[in-house]
Amino acid sequence: MSSIFVNSKDVFLDIVNAKDYVQLDRVSSIYQSLKDSIKKPLKMILLYGKPGTGKSMFLNKLHTDLSSTQSIFLYKTPILDESEFYKTLAQDIFGTRYSGELNFTQFMKIVEKKEFQETPVVLLDEAQLYSDVLMEKIRLLSDTRTVKFVITLHKTEKEDIIAKEHFQTRIWETIELENASSSELKIYIQKKLMKANCFDSANMFTNKSVNRIHKITNGNYRDTNKLLYTLFDLYSLYEKSSRLSNIRTDQVPNKLIEMSAIHTGLIDA
């Protein structure tokens, strides 16, 4: 017998998979403008936001949606070695395989020779891990407009310092992803559960419960996932020990939300 709580728990595993993407109004309109930007003659698009705001999810979704209609490549892990980076791009975008080293000048020669009807799009996740040198080359490459880059950067308080000049002075677009508002968080939670056919669990999230969750997680998707994973873990434990009658199941009680938050460290106790 698989309990509804166990099924609901698995919904909140921290996995980035485009098929689990939840359509949220704000996110969808950002998504639409990102798709439009890709068509515009902009050189680079920067997607940034705090950890857990859905940047990687966004890139994955974009890749999945567009890969059937246009040439688009996603690199989830930064390629650190310069030569390896060019070789990978050369192979993926132009279908040319190189053995041995490939430097920037050689790669640029290949790029300049190629003519595309539509600019190929390269998605780079975790761009803060690329070296200064390579980032500069990526920028130069974007300037040729033969390849369009969409890069994600995570922003932390520590890194809230003046940006590198090439990020301010180039023609490009910046898109910020933010934490969810309380109402968005409700939609996020309910849609996620309903996707997995957990309708009863979805109904447990009243405005009151969601507000309490939002207060704890600030609407951060990753923190919310963590919290709800533990929450349904707790529910299934109560169920296993036949103590489910002691707690409410028509709406999520604050007690259980707070217990989950304590367990996951979101509340200091």
Binding site: S29, I161, T169, W172, T174, S183
Partner: protein, 267 residues
């Protein structure tokens, strides 16, 4: 593992702790009331008024005659004074502000704030139950070289972004802590690569292994994994692993590496 009982205990302690500030407020409010009451009671004059009539008979030229009817009078007055006491108390409580003693107002404001506590950021957001909630437009900003002045306030934060590059051991530690939070194989692979570059093959091996466990389709991770094995003197194990990987992935780079290991070109 989750322990329901222990967690419930912790929650209880948390709850009690979170009510402590309220308790402190209630306590301090009552202390203030009490001291106010005592303060206002002390200089009260009716007692001295009561005493003067007692003195009067002493001065009086005919003490013997007046003494008898006067004494019950004094007693009466003291009694009435006692009866007035609750009245005095009643008057003080509702009007502490009118006497310009502001001591009470901050705590009252705090209580009010507690009641209407809201998330400051999302005050204007709708809280509809429907899915068709109107949510504010995306914050998209275009930055150009030729435009110094930017209209959108969001740009403030844009300017604040920076790219920090991770090179030293310290920076690796930071990435590891991020990896622990988001379990992103991109990060563990990055750590593996960095350790490999730094010559720490044991750690490179560990992190490549972790990466492979999260996602077994990352070619580079398998390559780092086997390269580290060779460096650690486990050539046989490296060859075996690579062969298995090539069998299921048909990876070219892995094949090249395998040839290099076997021929001794890579060691």
């Amino acid at each position: 593992m989750l322990n329901l009982h222990e967690l419930e205990q912790r929650w209880l302690r948390y709850k009690i702790k979170s009510y402590l500030p309220y308790l402190a407020i209630v306590l301090s409010v009552s202390v203030i009331f009490l001291s106010l009451f005592v303060f206002l009671r002390e200089p009260s004059t009716p007692i001295t008024k009561n005493i003067t009539p007692i003195k009067a008979p002493v001065i009086s030229p005919k003490p013997q005659v007046i003494l008898k009817p006067k004494q019950p009078q004094v007693e009466k007055k003291v009694l009435t004074q006692k009866k007035e006491l609750p009245q005095v108390q009643k008057e003080i409580i509702p009007s502490p502000r009118s006497t310009n003693k502001v001591i009470l107002s901050p705590s009252l404001g705090f209580m009010k704030k507690m009641q209407t506590d809201q998330q400051p950021y999302y005050k204007n957001e709708h809280t509809n139950e429907n899915n068709d909630v109107q949510i504010k437009a995306p914050t998209v900003t275009v930055v150009r070289d030729d435009i110094q002045h930017v209209e959108h306030p969001k740009i403030e934060t844009v300017k604040k972004i920076s790219i920090t590059h991770k090179n030293t051991h310290n920076d690796i530690a930071e990435i590891i802590s991020r990896f622990k939070k988001n379990n992103n194989p991109a990060l563990s692979l990055f750590v593996a690569k960095k350790y490999y570059e730094l010559g720490d093959y044991r750690q490179a091996y560990n992190y490549a292994l972790i990466t492979n466990q999260i996602n077994q389709d990352i070619e580079v991770s398998w390559i780092i994994f086997t390269k580290s094995l060779v460096k650690l003197g486990e050539k046989k194990k490296a060859i075996k692993t690579l062969k298995q990987y090539i069998h299921q992935s048909h990876s070219n780079s892995a094949q090249i590496l395998l040839d290099e290991i076997i021929s001794g070109k890579f060691k």
